[in-house]
Symmetry: none
Subunit: 212 residues, 4 copies
DNA sequence: GATGAATGAGTCTTCATTCAT
DNA sequence: GATGAATGAAGACTCATTCAT
């Protein structure tokens, strides 16, 4: 009882292992053994911390959604100029490659959301929050006189998020016609025409870990 | 080639049944029994026509990709005006709802493509072909003096396809923030700014079964 | 495999195998493997005919109750003289020994009846039916002027059934102080004093399979 | 012998907890966790005091047998009149209801006795001792000129014990046709005819805790 | 003395696949 | 051509038991 530290740490460790395993096999094919192996523990131990595989998977997805959104928020909040924000946000919203763990996870969980209200809620919530971030950022850009929005901010925001999702799906699926670089370039191409701002280019300085 | 008619018909029947079953359970969770039931045949019969489940699933995916692309091509080829083509194409590219069989199928197969080169090839091929269709259509619109392209045609085409894919994913996943109508509206919003053509609205007359 | 006539025959075969296995290990400890082995089939086959072990066990118990009651009824119905009836009935109601399959089964299922309404119903039903058989038989004896009942027929009947159950329990449990012969002798001792009929002795001629 | 007080007390506490848990789940289904929970200790602690579950269960059974026999002996030894003794003894020999902890325990252990010589020995020993008690009591009654035995004392004693066992089994199994009151009445009905003593009725004054 | 984290053997259950008919 | 009975490998889950604190 007096060992909540370990309990929590262990669970986190297992969730991390499961994240990796799911990103490889997909949630529908991942086995308890995969997760146990990835975590370096016995199979029974997985059940010591999680009632069953479904419960663990739920935690994994919840954790992944939070992680993804937090990363993206971090990328934006440290910057002042809306143009920097937008470029950083778009960069962070795209998978780094076909092996991007978090991205794979997020996309592969889609089918599960169909049957499972909890997954569905997280999934929709992520979309809505991302749209909110982009909307805010677009309005900041307008206030800074960098952007002139051709459509309502939320519409542009929805399109930006969705472009990222679409390209992300292709990247993660291994579509070789869509590289992360080209995807970013195309997303920013849309952003330029939607904001009338020609400065939205991939070569905007990247600000690593803006919080630090 | 030398396969008797019945053989071919039976296989098609099973593929259709499998398409339905997969659209419900996903490729990783669908059972042979689901497919046999949907087809109204005995379980053993599935293996009479397909070596194993994986082979059947491969056929299902291939068939689905072709089906999807053909539908979309049909929607375009019967029309003359590039604006009609684009609106029809976009409409056809979006799922009709969360229960759109073909769309569900296409998205749920994502994780499989990771491990399986055949799936991956079909998946990428579909993307490329769709981009080609949109590219052609955009150039036609330019020739017809309806469109003034803000970016290279292939870039706009890639964005249009990807927007559809992204919104399609959300629709099929049950995201209630994204209805098919709103998705179409947003895709066309992008199309308008990318083509400079204000006529690209959802109320363009739908031409049912243009081949007929 | 020589296709056993039908679904029903296979199920019966499995129930018989399960009956044997349960009589050895008890319902709480019997394993699917025990049953499959006893039936000479693969483990999976058990689940082909029964959804799960509990369902099979339920069938086993139901079958055992019917079997036991039918045996006993057969022992009685073929005879005219109530004294013969009673002695035959008592003999049939006692286990033949510690290894009496049916008897072991019936007693070992007791604990399950506690949690399971279906078991409980069968269990109580068996008691009631046995009491009814003895009651009828006692009244016949009265009509034949062989018996003079010291107590109401149903009370004597309940005591007879319960004596059998009690001795049966001891026999089956391996209590060496209670042999089947001594048990019969004691039950009949009670019967004699309750009916005032000195003719109720174990040496009454046994009539094997009266139906034949 | 050299065991410290705490050690002994802890073991007794665990046996009591196990007694309760077994009376609920049965010896074949009870889990170490059930026992630990009932005792309010950690799971590991069970094995600190008992090598394994089987050993604990053996102790539980042994303890239960002693407890049961002691209770019954207590009910008898405090009384002078054999008629009181017999009625008190019968009352104590029947479960108080379907939830009688000790009784459930004793009956549920049956199947275990089959495989386990220790259980079997305790089980048979209990029977023999009960018969001895009843035998003695019947002879006292004879000496007091209350009883005139129709059969040898040990035979009547065996029948009395067995009637109790049989009715006890039904009560504990939840047979609604057999209430504790009716069971007592029926047992005493037999006792009356076997002893020729009409005074053996359930309304004999109960003497609570005769030792006090 | 006690604990509870961790284990892994033991089981049930599912289900793709085979094959006799 | 088709079936469905039968199989057995695979995998989730349970839980007694061990052992470092």
């Amino acid at each position: 009882m007096a060992r909540p530290r370990n309990q929590t740490a262990r669970r986190a460790q297992l969730i991390a292992a499961a994240r990796q395993a799911v990103s490889v096999h997909g949630p529908a094919r991942v086995r308890v053994a995969d997760i146990a192996d990835a975590a370096g523990v016995a199979r029974g131990s997985v059940h010591y911390y999680f009632r069953d595989l479904d419960q663990l998977l739920e935690q994994v997805y919840k954790d992944a959604v939070d992680r993804f959104f937090t990363q993206r928020l971090d990328a934006v909040t440290g910057l002042r100029d809306a143009r920097d924000k937008l470029v950083a946000c778009a960069r962070r919203g795209l998978p780094t490659g076909a092996d991007d763990e978090l991205a794979r996870l997020l996309y592969w969980f889609g089918p599960e959301a169909t049957d499972n209200a909890v997954f569905a809620a997280h999934c929709q919530g992520l979309f809505d929050r991302q749209v909110a971030v982009y909307s805010g950022l677009l309005e900041v850009g307008e206030a800074q006189d960098h952007f002139v929005l051709a459509e309502p901010a939320v519409d542009i925001a929805a399109n930006l998020v969705t472009l990222e999702d679409g390209y992300g799906l292709h990247i993660v699926t291994g579509n070789r016609s869509v590289t992360p670089e080209r995807a970013l370039s195309l997303v920013l191409g849309y952003a330029r025409s939607a904001t009338g701002c020609a400065d939205l280019t991939p070569d905007r300085p990247v600000q690593e870990s803006p919080r630090a």
